[in-house]
Each structure stands twice: as structure tokens, then as C-alpha cells.
């Protein structure tokens, strides 16, 4: 019993985020979980005692293959030993899931909210503030940020990594700013790909369905005795979202990517990785335009082209300097261009350099420190008189340093982690993000943790200096009782500050015996300086030569005035019902309270409304190993209504039935969104897109390697 729990926990692999040295090293040093086999996986419980062959012999093969033996002697921690709300999507879960992409995989993680909004645009957040640009969630791939701080969001459709090449996805709920810095406000997602030494030879995947067809090919080879490479290419076409009546919105999305990863271990203490990739995509999305003359009272549906291209390269050197000191140096650069909405042409480049160290001077202290520099160059070409930016080109620069000490107060029982990250950028100045965490294990089956931390979100270019009139409130509708259309106009402000969060978290984990365990995390988040669209003007739009107006423009300026609190909890119960039947039940609860705006006497509205997050989410996941070669995975999810019912609640059902032939060929039958013809998942009132529905889909998938 004990064993299976430990294995489960290990499989879920550590991530000790704020507390685990290895992870902290990787995360802090490289802004993420970094190199797959050099990080959390080293921290599996069964290998905790290097002296014990027994524990190692009982460790599942999957874990042995990603344990770097150099770290066998390292102080290690599991998910079960981390003082944060952590969930790991393992390789096995990825393989069993019906999902074909990363946002869909995230749907089954407790506390994560996922809703497709428009073709090519998915809203993903944790603990509130969801939207197309859900600004409070930091997302990284192999140590490289894919959170575009200039827009405060992530282009999820550009995260087109073949799922077979994923090592795991680590999801941390709650702030991670003490190590990761700004914009790790409500959570951090680390996507980690496999080491190229694990994927030699040729791998092919093909998935053909009624809504989506995709294929990927990867080839791995040795470069001498100490280095390996993997090159991959993928292609996808997808029909995307529909109207309520089942008519496709926009055109078929086509996208592809190629990537290269080289891993080199010149010695037992040095690991180098080099990664580079290129992605592109093209389709038309249905958006809602407004009349440029501000006369037409209704939005005008148009098909507007979406095109993107992205290129990146990363290099990282990790060195075990001694048994007490690990060092990491990482550099990466990337560039992306994306055109969408018919007028928004965006270019973004990033260059980032990080150094990190993990120093264990004695049994009590486990110290992480590091520093980094980053520069971001962007260019916005908005070819629309109603969407302009204060400047076309902009450069943001950052310098940061962090220090964290993980102090063992009572060995294996009580641990205190204190640390802070200090950053300076050229637009909001200094940001200080401290955190303290405590971990207590009163007995080997129970763990309790608590944390207080501060995090900030830096303002996007929209908030800093855009002038946008993108939507229309038609006459005599909910928000416009007047007989004339009102055009809401949003303007940025140079005075905008970072949003602040002070987070209080606590959690407990328990081994219930019989292979079952429970993990509960609760939070109370207090936000200030939230961006609040503040009304500053209301003016009639006059047509030359006429004395009366045709419409009004209501101008709101982004101001750092908002205050809100959120609170809730997430609970996961996992275990083996009977041999061959694994189950996971999870429930997430989210509540909020906007404080009263002294200007209006009513609650702050916020830009990303907090009622855009479900109060209740629940899921039941079952995996049945019917035989050695046949597996059935089912997922049932309930998502509560959003925006006072404008997006109704729904129940989602996904299923994968997989057969593995003796030669390793895998054939799966997959059904997604089985209970409804189609459902609406998200709506952002300030976003110019029609209500979009996600249809039911079926597919067949084949996987083979040779």
C-alpha cells in the first residue's frame, strides 16, 4: 500500500517549486523546470536513500529512466513534500488522455480553467482572471517563457508540441514569483519535453478525426558517444469552432512546426541542451468588427485572417560542480509574428540570459540564488483608426536576482522556506516579490503546508498606451438602454502600475492507505492596483453637417485602482479502486469579491471579470486496464456557468480506448465532448468575437516507432 502511494507520488514527480532544491535550481535558474532528466524526476521517494538498492529496484521503470544518477545523493523532495499546490501531468496521463493538445490536457488539472473562445484563441487561467489574454498565469516550455508579457497572455495555438515528445507538464497553482518573478501571479505551468537520448529512432503519430487531422514525425540519432539529437515535424488541420447551429466559424486552421533538440553530456557532471524550432499557422477566424465611422448600431461579422510564425533557440548548461553545488547557465532568444483580428499585426522578440545556483552547505540549509537579464522588443502595426498604440515600437528590459533558503528546522519534519526575487524593469521600476513557506510532516502519512507570498503582474502594452474601440453596445440592450449605439473605447495610461497580489495559501496531503491519497489546497488572494477601466468621458459622435449624433463613445481609461479578493480550494482524491482500475476525483471551488469603487459606489468591474471563472468544477477520471494490451480511459467533467449564466454550465465527456499490438503499434479510438453536439465554453464581452461553440468529435489515432 505504502509502496503504491509512493510510486504514485513519484510518478507525479516532484516539483518542489518553492521548496525543492533541484526544482528550485532549475526553476529559478532557468525560469522553469528545465531539463527533463535533470529536474524533479530526480526526486522520487523510492530512491530517497541512495544506500538502499531495494528502493531503487522497486522504482518503476518510467522513473528510473529519467533519474539522473548524479542526483541520487541529492536531497530530494516529491510533490508530497512540496509546500505549494502542485499537480503533475505525467507521460502516462498524457498518453491515456483523449486530448490532442496542451490546453485540452490542462482541462483535467484541478483549479485550471480552460475555455475555447475563438478559433486560435483559448482562455486558460488558474484561480480567476480568465480571458483570451488571461494575464496572471506564467507558462514556460523547457525553461523558455511563452507568456508574452507585452500582451499579458499566451498564444496557446502556437504551443504545437507533439504530445509524444512531452516528458510531463507541471502545474503550480498559486504565486511563483519568489523564484520566477513577475507574472507568475496565480500560477505557473512548466511544459517539459523529452531528452533526445530517450527518443532515438523514428516515431510516427497520426490522428484522423471528423474535425481534426494531424500527424507528426520525429527522428532521433546519436552524435558520437556523448550526444544525441531529435528532429521533428508536425502538421495539423482543424475545422475549429462553430455557431450555435453547427456552422463552421472561419476556415480550416492549418499549422505546422519543426524542431530540433540536441543533448550533450561531455562528462558525468555536465549536461548541455540546445533546442530550436519554427512554427507557422494560417487560417481565417470569424470576428466582429465595428463600423469604422461609428454609425452602424450592430457589430459586423467578418472573416479575418490569422497568420503566425515563430522561431526560437535555447541553450542551457547544467553543471554539478560538487556534491554541494549545482550551477546552471541558460540563454535563449525567440521571435514571433502574428496577425489577427483584421487589423492587429504584432511582432515580438525576446532575448534572455539566466544564471542559477543551488548550494547545500550543510544539512540545514539549501540555498538557491541566481540572476537574469531579459530584453523584449515589440512592434504593433494596427491598421485601424479605432485601434492605435501610443508607439509602434517598444523595448522592455529586465534585470532580476533571487535568493531563497530552504531551512530544515527539524529533519524530515519541519521546513521553512524564505526567499525573494527583486526585479527592475524600465516601465514599472523595482518589483520586490518575497515569499515564505512552511512545511510540516507530523507523521509519514500526513503533510501540512502554508505560505504567504507576494507577486506582481506587469502591465501590457494595451494597458500602457493603446486606444481601442473594438465593440459596440447596440441600442436598447442590457448595457445600453439608450436609443443610440454606444461604442466603448478603452485607453491605456503611462501611469499604469503593476498589479499586486498578496496570497495566503495552505494545504494538506494524506496517504489514506490502500493505495489512496488526498491532496487539498486552499487560498485567499488579495489583489490591489488591479487594472480598472475607469469611465473618463462620454461624448456624442456627430456626422459632419448633421446637428444630432448617430452614436456615443464612452471612454474608459485603464487605471491601477481595482481591489478584489478571491478565495477557494481544490481537492484531489486519487487511488486504485481494484487492480487495473485507477480513479481520480477532483473538485475546485472559486469565490470572489470586488471591493467598492469609491468613484461609483458600486463594486469594481475589472477588465477580466472574476465571474468569468466557474465557481464549481469537478471531474471524475477512470483508467481501466482491460488487459495487457487494452486500456480504456474516461473523463467526465462538470464546469459551472460563467458570466451570470451567459455561458451555461456543461458536462464534458471524453474517452480513449487503446489497443497496443505486440510490436508496439498503438491504435486508439477517441471521442471528445460526447454529451452534446456542441457547447459554448467561454465568452469575453470585451473581445470582438461571436459566441463560438466547441463541437463533439471522434478520431482514430495510430502511434508507431521503428
Amino acid at each position: 500500500m505504502k509502496l503504491s502511494f509512493k510510486h504514485l507520488a513519484t510518478a507525479a514527480v516532484s516539483l518542489g517549486v518553492f521548496s525543492t532544491p533541484a526544482f528550485a535550481l532549475e526553476s529559478g535558474a532557468t525560469e522553469n523546470g528545465a531539463e527533463s532528466h535533470a529536474t524533479p524526476s530526480d526526486e522520487s521517494a523510492p530512491v530517497a536513500d541512495p544506500a538502499s538498492d531495494n528502493d531503487l529496484l522497486n522504482t518503476p521503470l518510467e522513473e528510473l529512466l529519467v533519474i539522473e544518477s548524479t542526483s541520487v545523493a541529492k536531497k530530494r523532495q516529491n510533490v508530497e513534500d512540496s509546500a505549494a499546490a502542485v499537480y503533475v501531468i505525467t507521460q502516462e496521463e498524457i498518453r491515456n488522455s483523449a486530448s490532442s493538445n496542451i490546453p485540452d490536457l490542462l482541462r483535467s488539472v484541478p483549479g485550471v480553467e480552460v475555455g475555447q473562445l475563438i478559433n486560435g484563441g483559448t482562455a486558460v487561467s488558474i484561480r480567476g482572471f480568465n480571458g483570451r489574454n488571461s494575464n496572471s498565469l506564467l507558462v514556460m516550455v523547457d525553461g523558455r517563457t511563452v507568456y508574452v508579457s507585452t500582451l499579458s497572455g499566451v498564444f496557446w495555438d502556437q504551443l504545437q508540441i507533439p504530445l509524444s515528445d512531452l516528458e510531463r507538464i507541471e502545474v503550480v497553482r498559486g504565486p511563483g514569483a519568489t523564484l520566477w518573478g513577475a507574472n507568475a501571479v496565480n500560477g505557473v505551468i512548466n511544459i517539459i519535453t523529452k531528452n533526445s537520448a530517450d527518443t532515438l529512432g523514428t516515431r510516427t503519430d497520426a490522428r484522423i478525426g471528423n474535425r481534426r487531422q494531424e500527424g507528426s514525425l520525429a527522428y532521433g540519432a546519436r552524435l558520437g558517444e556523448t550526444a544525441t539529437l531529435r528532429a521533428h515535424g508536425s502538421y495539423r488541420r482543424e475545422q475549429g469552432l462553430q455557431t450555435a447551429d453547427g456552422v463552421d466559424l472561419g476556415t480550416t486552421q492549418e499549422s505546422g512546426d519543426v524542431g530540433l533538440r540536441v543533448d550533450w553530456s561531455p562528462s558525468e557532471r555536465d549536461n548541455l541542451t540546445f533546442q530550436a524550432g519554427y512554427k507557422m499557422g494560417s487560417f481565417e477566424s470569424q470576428t466582429l468588427d465595428i463600423d469604422p465611422a461609428l454609425m452602424n448600431p450592430n457589430p459586423i461579422p467578418v472573416n479575418s485572417p490569422v497568420e503566425y510564425e515563430e522561431v526560437y533557440a535555447l541553450a542551457r548548461w547544467s553543471r554539478r560542480q560538487s556534491d554541494k553545488l549545482d550551477l546552471t547557465l541558460q540563454a535563449y532568444a525567440g521571435n514571433l509574428n502574428r496577425e489577427e483580428l483584421g487589423f492587429f499585426d504584432f511582432g515580438w522578440s525576446i532575448a534572455d540570459l539566466d544564471f542559477g545556483a543551488n548550494w547545500r552547505p550543510n544539512e540545514t540549509h539549501d540555498i538557491n540564488f541566481g540572476f537574469g537579464v531579459r530584453a523584449i522588443w515589440d512592434e504593433v502595426n494596427a491598421s485601424n483608426p479605432n485601434a492605435t498604440f501610443d508607439k509602434r515600437k517598444n523595448t522592455d528590459t529586465w534585470i532580476s536576482a533571487y535568493l531563497q533558503d530552504d531551512i530544515s528546522l527539524v529533519k524530515d519534519t519541519l521546513r521553512l522556506t524564505v526567499g525573494a526575487k527583486v526585479e527592475r524593469n524600465n516601465f514599472t521600476g523595482f518589483e520586490f516579490q518575497p515569499g515564505a513557506r512552511i512545511f510540516f510532516r507530523p507523521d509519514e502519512n500526513v503533510a501540512i503546508w502554508g505560505a504567504v507570498s507576494r507577486a506582481v503582474r506587469t502591465p501590457s502594452r494595451f494597458e500602457r498606451g493603446a486606444d481601442l474601440t473594438l465593440t459596440v453596445l447596440s441600442p436598447q440592450t442590457e448595457f445600453n438602454p439608450t436609443p443610440l449605439p454606444i461604442f466603448p473605447r478603452l485607453t491605456g495610461s503611462q501611469d499604469i502600475e503593476s498589479e499586486n497580489l498578496t496570497a495566503f495559501e495552505a494545504g494538506f496531503r494524506a496517504d489514506l492507505g490502500a493505495g489512496w491519497n488526498v491532496d487539498v489546497a486552499a487560498y485567499y488572494n488579495k489583489y490591489s492596483e488591479l487594472v480598472e477601466p475607469t469611465p473618463v468621458g462620454f461624448a456624442p459622435n456627430l456626422f459632419p453637417g448633421t446637428p444630432f449624433p448617430f452614436s456615443f463613445t464612452q471612454t474608459s481609461e485603464f487605471q491601477s485602482r481595482g481591489k478584489a479578493e478571491t478565495w477557494g480550494f481544490e481537492a484531489v482524491l486519487k487511488g486504485e479502486v481494484v487492480s487495473g482500475w485507477d480513479a481520480q476525483l477532483s473538485y475546485s471551488n472559486f469565490n470572489f469579491d470586488n471591493e467598492i469603487d469609491p468613484l461609483t459606489g458600486s463594486p469594481f468591474l475589472g477588465f477580466l471579470p472574476l465571474n468569468g471563472s466557474p465557481e464549481h468544477q469537478a471531474s471524475v477520471e477512470n483508467t481501466f486496464k482491460i488487459s495487457d494490451s487494452i486500456l480504456l480511459n474516461t473523463e467526465l467533467r462538470y464546469v459551472d456557468h460563467l458570466l451570470d449564466g451567459k455561458v451555461p454550465s456543461y458536462v464534458d465527456g471524453d474517452v480513449r480506448l487503446r489497443y497496443e499490438a505486440p510490436n508496439g503499434l498503438e491504435v486508439s479510438l477517441i471521442g471528445e465532448n460526447l454529451f452534446e453536439d456542441r457547447r459554448i465554453e467561454f465568452l469575453q464581452l470585451s473581445y470582438p468575437a461571436p459566441p463560438s461553440f466547441n463541437p463533439r468529435s471522434f478520431s482514430v489515432e495510430l502511434r508507431y516507432r521503428f
Binding site: S69, S265, R269, T397
Partner: protein, 173 residues
């Protein structure tokens, strides 16, 4: 950008200082690697189907020349799948009665002489499976991985589970 470049400089200096000041301790990593190797070998045995009855003891023979032979002794008495493992140190080239032969680094003729129906031939190095071995354990840096030669396992009438086929770092068919 001015501040950035000065930070870059500091980063490089700091790294250089660490690199230079702290002597590279030639830590004894290899024993940890062989421990890991043994654990992977043992785990592989759990997912192998031998011809005929999969009952009774599983005889794991390891060449006494193999530097890691002592590690494999820990298998003795443990159960892999449904079979209890007994470990035998080989002093000569007599492989009779062996279900598994662990050769360490071996050449093609040594591998050929150990290969027969029902015997799984395992060994070290990235060329082991190219020389006709069934399972090769390969060390890169300090991580250990395994490679499968499905042609060899077919010839020996041994069935590898699809899990092994998936987890192997390389397979040849």
C-alpha cells in the same frame, strides 16, 4: 540595455569565478550509475515473456568479469513478475540453464555464443544491440537508458512487452 549588458558581464564573471575557484571533485558517480543500471535491468525483467512456462526460478547469469556484477547480486531472491530470480556468476562461457545472460561489454562472437532460444542476452554500450545483443544498457552522462533489438528477441522466442518497446531509448526491428 546598458544595465542588461552589465548584468550579462556579471553573470559571466560569476560563472567564471565559480568554475575556477571550486575544484572539480572527481566524485564517485559511477557507482551510482551502476546502481541505477542494475535497477533498470531488474525492471526490464518484469516485462519479458520467456518461451514455455513462465514459472519457477529465473536464472540471471552475469559474467564475473563484469565490473557491475556485484550489483546484480541484489536481485537474488527477489520476484520479477511471477518468478523468483536467482543470480549466477559465470566463470566460464557455459550458458546452460541461464534465462538471462548479462555480458557487460562484449563483441559480436561472444554475444552469438550466448544467444539461444529462450535466453535474453543483455549487455553494455550503444553498440551492444548492433552486435546482435537483445538489450543494451547505455550510459549518457550519468543517466542510464536501454535499447532493444527486437530481431534478436524474436529469434530467441522472447516477447518484450509493448511498455518496453515504448520506453526503450532506441529499438531495432
Amino acid at each position: 540595455m546598458f544595465q542588461s549588458s552589465s548584468m550579462i558581464r556579471k553573470a559571466i564573471v560569476a560563472l567564471a569565478v565559480f568554475g575556477a575557484v571550486l575544484p572539480s571533485q572527481a566524485a564517485a558517480q559511477s557507482s551510482k550509475s551502476s546502481q541505477l543500471k542494475a535497477a533498470i535491468v531488474f525492471n526490464i525483467l518484469r516485462f519479458v515473456d520467456f518461451p514455455g512456462s513462465n514459472e519457477g526460478a529465473l536464472t540471471f547469469c552475469v559474467s564475473s568479469r563484469d565490473p557491475d556484477a556485484s550489483r546484480f547480486r541484489a536481485f537474488s531472491g527477489r520476484t520479477a513478475g511471477s518468478r523468483q530470480v536467482s543470480v549466477r556468476l559465470l566463470s566460464s562461457d557455459s550458458y546452460a540453464g541461464c534465462d538471462v545472460v548479462y555480458l557487460g561489454d562484449a563483441n559480436a562472437s561472444e554475444i552469438a555464443s550466448a544467444s539461444r532460444r529462450g535466453t535474453l542476452v543483455m549487455g553494455d554500450g550503444s553498440r551492444f544491440i548492433n552486435r546482435g545483443g537483445a538489450v543494451g544498457l547505455v550510459r549518457t552522462g550519468s543517466q542510464v537508458r536501454f535499447e532493444l533489438n527486437l530481431k534478436a528477441t524474436n529469434q530467441s522466442d522472447i516477447e518484450m512487452s509493448s511498455r518496453l518497446i515504448r520506453l526503450a531509448s532506441r529499438i531495432t526491428r
